[in-house]
Amino acid sequence: MMDTQLVMYEEDFKKILAVIQRLVRDANAKGIFVVDKNGQLIAEAGEVRGIDTTSLASLTAGSIAATGGLAKIIGEDDFPVHFHQGARDNLHITLVGGRIILVVVFDDRSSLGLVRLRVKKAGTEMGKIFEDIQKKAESEAATGTSTSPFAEITDDDIDNLFSE
């Protein structure tokens, strides 16, 4: 079955932001990114200046998709945790609830053990938030109460986008 469309409201966004801002501190991380499995950036926290976040999101999703494909080939469901070690910075990547990817960038002010520990807790909280978002989307879809801004757009609105 197809996924329902991801819709993020201000209040959900704030909850996610609170979780990752705390995680930056608790894990001594440099930066944290929440990415949707389709490659769209959802939220970021920490020292993220100078990082091309759009590219980061798309490559993270590509990499998770590729390793997920590998997992199925050898009979695993998925590889839920990924760790990439660099000379200075490291990446810790986890799948949350099958749909969301949590990316933690850290250096030697932190450690893999600490990151792993803190991510576990934050991941659970985040999973819960996204479950609620999903439920909301499903019930809106079922009752037809979706308030998409796109319900009201006209052909003119669309044409105007291309009128330059």
Binding site: M1, M2, D3, Q5, L6, V7, M8, Y9, E10, D12, F13, K14, D36, K37, N38, G39, Q40, I42, D52, T54, S55, S58, L59, G62, A65, A66, G68, G69, S146, S148, P149, F150, A151, E152, I153, D155, D157, I158, D159, N160, L161, F162
Partner: protein
């Protein structure tokens, strides 16, 4: 799968360029990249082999402007066209909002075009999509070449259901933006239809 973010007031849509090896998918994105105002585009990422064949995907994020106060962004992807990269093509199709099929007009590539469009249908179906139910346009590329098949022949073979189609020469850019605009419009109209 489009993503509507009320917090940043953005909507993101994913468009995939599909087609046989060497038909010009990457060239389409390169042309769009070079002709787009720097404020409206992000970096283009190409995961390619040393011989510049797409290995996994090309990615180009574009901002189109605002609709009803929402920034409209399109994420353009290409798939690797070579037959043996099928597993990667399936991954790129995940969450797609609209598809451009880039056909290679050269007469000797007709078979490859047909195979690729069949492969597209199979891979979409695996994810619960039907090609004739999602935003879809066709581009007949490489019209500049002397061995290009006649347009009506391409149409007959590749576009029996009569979706919007365009002639193009991606190297000079002819038809490239027309194709992009058509698929983007179809995606937005579809969003409107789905949200009612």
């Amino acid at each position: 799968m489009s993503f509507i973010n009320y917090s940043s007031r953005e909507i993101n849509c994913k468009i995939v360029y599909y087609g046989p090896g060497l038909c010009g998918k990457t060239t389409n994105l390169q042309f769009i990249y070079t002709k787009t105002n720097p404020d409206l585009k992000g970096k283009m990422i190409s995961l390619a082999t040393e011989t510049e064949r797409t290995l996994f995907f090309d990615f180009l994020p574009l901002a189109l402007g605002q609709i009803r106060g929402f920034k409209t962004r399109f994420h353009l992807y290409t798939v690797p066209g070579q037959v043996f990269y099928d597993a990667s093509r399936k991954l790129i199709l995940k969450g797609v909002d609209g598809v451009v099929f880039v056909a290679d007009s050269q007469i000797e590539r007709m078979e490859a075009n047909l195979e690729s469009i069949d492969n597209l249908k199979v891979n979409l179906r695996e994810q619960g999509y039907e090609l004739d139910k999602i935003p879809f346009v066709i581009q007949y590329n490489k019209r500049d070449l002397p061995n290009a098949a006649p347009l009506d022949e391409l149409r007959r073979q590749l576009n029996p259901s009569g979706v919007q189609d365009f002639e193009a020469s991606a190297t000079t850019g002819e038809g490239v933006f027309e194709t992009l605009k058509a698929v983007a419009k179809t995606v937005l109209s579809d969003l409107k239809r789905l949200s009612r």
